[in-house]
């Protein structure tokens, strides 16, 4: 456990371990309280909820909040990871270690149809690949287990169509999002009613920004995948993006040779579709500092958003998280 320096918090009377806590800024406390409220609503209102665990920083925060929301119990829902088989190896190792340490039920789902068809991001393009291995896979998993609510870590500041999504976002029986016909959402009151076959996506981090997420990770000492921190890694440059050669499945083009560069990732996904940024920020505070000075958005590193201007809205309507 790494030690976090205390700012000015005295030992809290009555704390079992006598451990000192830092004072969390009021806006983070407000976000934390709101997210916990949403998580408890989801647990109370749905027959069989599940938490989508993508292993990234937002998922790490979401999981941390879920542990707090139900403490001293465990979250009353399992974790679901949709594994495309193209995630960074460090992500998978981190995922399994976290689930084990926290004693949580982890479901891993892969679209085996897509796998047997040999769908991969290099030969089939990011759009087709994402649809088969992520969107369809997620729908399969939700149907297979009969989950009626899927809790995810999406934030409204990520992307324009996300900015309009509800905290409790309705999906038809065919998993479609109808952005023009969303249920109005007022106060902290959520319409959780579902007809048979319908489901809900729940977004407890809706009102967080990327900087809030990093500040909270720093303050709460939340474990994250080391790929977020700069280190020397083998990369090739393609279409202006730095792609890490994570395993030998990545076909190298003629004359292409991996170079060792000090890089880190602002978002994590499938390694062939995730661009690294050149960085020397090897610690969390350095990351936060780099973020505050940054002139580009985190999704810049994601290849799938660039397919067309409205690509995210279309993917979401089809069931992408």
């Amino acid at each position: 456990m790494l030690e976090v320096p205390t700012i000015d918090a005295p030992a809290v009377p009555g704390m079992a371990d006598g451990k000192q806590r830092r004072i969390t800024p009021s806006h983070l406390r407000r976000l934390e309280a709101e997210s916990i409220h949403i998580l408890r609503e989801a647990a109370a209102e749905f027959r069989k909820p599940v938490m989508l665990y993508s292993i990234g920083k937002d998922s790490s925060v979401l999981l941390h909040l879920a542990m707090k929301a139900f403490d001293p119990g465990k979250p009353p829902f399992p974790l679901l990871h949709v594994d495309t088989t193209w995630k960074f190896r460090e992500m998978i190792a981190f995922r399994d270690r976290r689930a084990r340490e926290l004693g949580l039920d982890l479901i891993v789902h892969t679209n085996t149809n897509g796998l047997s068809q040999g769908i991969d991001p290099f030969t089939h393009g990011s759009a087709r690949y994402t649809d088969v291995m992520k969107t369809q896979a997620l729908r399969q998993a939700l149907e297979l287990h009969g989950f009626d609510a899927a809790i995810g870590g999406a934030r409204r500041d990520e992307e324009k169509s996300r900015a309009k999504e509800r905290v409790f976002s309705h999906r038809s029986a065919s998993h479609r999002w109808d952005p023009k016909n969303q249920r109005p959402e007022l106060w902290g009151l959520y319409n959780t009613m579902l007809a048979p076959g319908e489901s809900m996506r729940v977004f407890p981090l809706s009102n967080w920004t990327e900087l809030d997420v990093w500040d909270y990770i720093l303050l709460e000492d939340i474990p994250i995948v080391p790929l977020y921190l700069a280190a020397s890694r083998p990369v090739v440059e393609r279409d202006g993006a730095l792609i890490m050669v994570d395993d030998d499945r990545m076909p190298l083009q003629p004359g292409e040779a991996p170079q060792w560069r000090s890089v880190r990732f602002r978002t994590l996904g499938c390694y062939p579709l995730t661009g690294a940024t050149t960085s020397m920020a090897a610690t969390l505070p350095e990351i936060v500092q780099e973020m505050m000075a940054s002139r580009s958005s985190e999704r810049q590193g994601r290849m799938i958003d660039r397919d067309s201007p409205a690509s995210m809205e279309r993917k979401k309507a089809e069931g992408y998280f």
């Binding site: 790494l2 320096p5 700012i7 000015d8 009555g14 704390m15 806590r21 969390t24 009021s26 806006h27 406390r29 407000r30 934390e32 709101e34 916990i36 409220h37 408890r40 647990a43 109370a44 909040l65 929301a69 139900f70 403490d71 001293p72 119990g73 270690r97 409204r156 500041d157 324009k160 169509s161 996300r162 900015a163 309009k164 952005p179 109005p184 959402e185 007022l186 106060w187 009151l189 319409n191 009613m193 579902l194 500040d215 720093l218 474990p223 994250i224 080391p226 977020y228 280190a231 610690t283 969390l284 505070p285 940054s294 580009s296 958005s297 810049q300 201007p309 409205a310 809205e313 279309r314």
Partner: protein
Amino acid sequence: MSYHAAPTIAAADAPRLAQDDRPTLRFVTCGSVDDGKSTLVGRLLYDSKALLDDQLDALASESKTAGTTGEDLDFALLVDGLQAEREQGITIDVAYRFFATKLRRFIVADTPGHAQYTRNMATGASNADLAVVLVDARKGVITQTRRHSHILSLLGIRHVVLAVNKMDLIGFDGGRFASITAEYLTLAGQLGISQVQCIPVVAPDGDNIVAASTRMPWYTGPTITAYLESVDVAGDASQQPFRLPVQWVSRPHADFRGFCGRIASGTIAVGDAVRAQPSGHLTRIARILTPAGERNHAEAGESITLTLADEIDVSRGDVLTAGSAAPVSDQLAAHLVWFDDAAMVDGRRYLLRCGTASTGAVITTLKHRIAIDTMARESATTLDVNEIGYVHLDLDRPLVFETYRDNRDMGSFILIDPISHRTAAAGMIDMSLRRATNVHWQRLAVDKSVRARLKQQRPCVLWFTGLSGAGKSTIANLVDNRLAELGRHAALLDGDNLRHGINRDLGFSNAERTENVRRVAEIAGLFVDAGLIALVALISPFRSERELARQRLEAGEFIEIHVATPLAECERRDPNGLYRKARAGQLPAFTGIDQPYEAPLAPDITIDTSELSSEAACERIIRYLREHNYL
């Protein structure tokens, strides 16, 4: 427990985090279409440097292809995120945006200006501390401005910035600005909006957004940003009595029983006396668990878990209170903003959600509708989408609440349509119509299952629905006789006969038909409680009303039988001459002729008497009851 390459926090970072306690202001923008709301928000994002390079690049390229501003950046594209909006150049849904200045963080809800999207404006306003109302300087205060300001006042917004946009198009006329300001201040005064700041702006050019305009030297007040950074909107939720709507009961093991929720108002400390409402049981706070660990106290806004000194029965929807008790009532008066395309129907049961409590609720009376333009009270029989009214509600069980004036979290509710599941209305509780604290259900020692065992049958309702003349009563009579032969206990409720007795005060309007069905469903439900098989023969043309009858009962107790004789055959039979009268125009609103019959989507049994004799139909129903263990 080291998960990553041991990041360490430099001591130099502690001051940044400690100082970075900028409060968050949540505000909503509203105004009429084309007043420039999205442009204003885009401009705020742009000027506060909240936009990053790749987003600016995307904006520049989209401005060329989809923009409406020629060679300039089209700031509205930043917030009009949905494809349909970009195509139509309008905003159809509320968008949430985030930006920060040196002094504050902001969450802004950008809301649509079209009349049909008023519900989204109410949505954005429900969580806002302040509203920015835009008007076009050329038009001044218009109907939409009044409508939106009225909704803002209903939703308890007390701080408004009136942004008078497009000042360049009236030649920066300070006199015109002054007259618009005066007109709006009069309106705000009528609505009880106590704090208004009027600011002349040119949103696309940035005049008085962040930087003071050099083109309007006569204006010496704050810019939009300067005002948003300094306005004091702090509430006093912590000063009010303690209220915790219970969200979740945590029972991880036998030794722990915690009650989780977000504190709606007040403060609480270990050892404080609390009561569970509505039961009224008293106890003390044993422990307070917060996201930051166990503590001695907690206050409004925190999501906490409490343990109590005594084992009392508390569940989701109950409220833990300290100090003065919260009011409890099953009859409320409230303002409604109607959201659903389907108009309000009084007498129909909706699902009401208030805090963590859910209950069935019937709108018993629409006292008046409020004319948006004049704020006048009008008499009305229904509310259409985007209309505002004042209603009386009759709840299925007592609700612990506060008035909306006193407490937003405990005084707000939504009504959900039980069939479509759409959010039909947002409501704000004005007052209780009577104290229901002492009203309790009589606990019945001999219950339904005891009676059913005595009668050796599973009580249920056989609900025969279909057109007039379809054969409902004939078949129901045969089934009734057959059950008597079998030594079973049944009772027949015939729609026509009931209209001579308990329902003789009802006519055939939609509302009266709804009430007719509701009464029959209630009586059938009482018969089921008594252990009987109730046979109901009723046209009951509306799917929603039959669904309400189903919801009055427990699962498996409602058997829907569609007597699906075709209209032509019913009309040919015309046993009572009603079709003839209807065709002659003597019977208005006759089902099948000039009023629709909504056939069941998934009836338990379907019978077409043009193909099946009444006797055979009767036997099929008896067989169904046997196969499903009712007999």
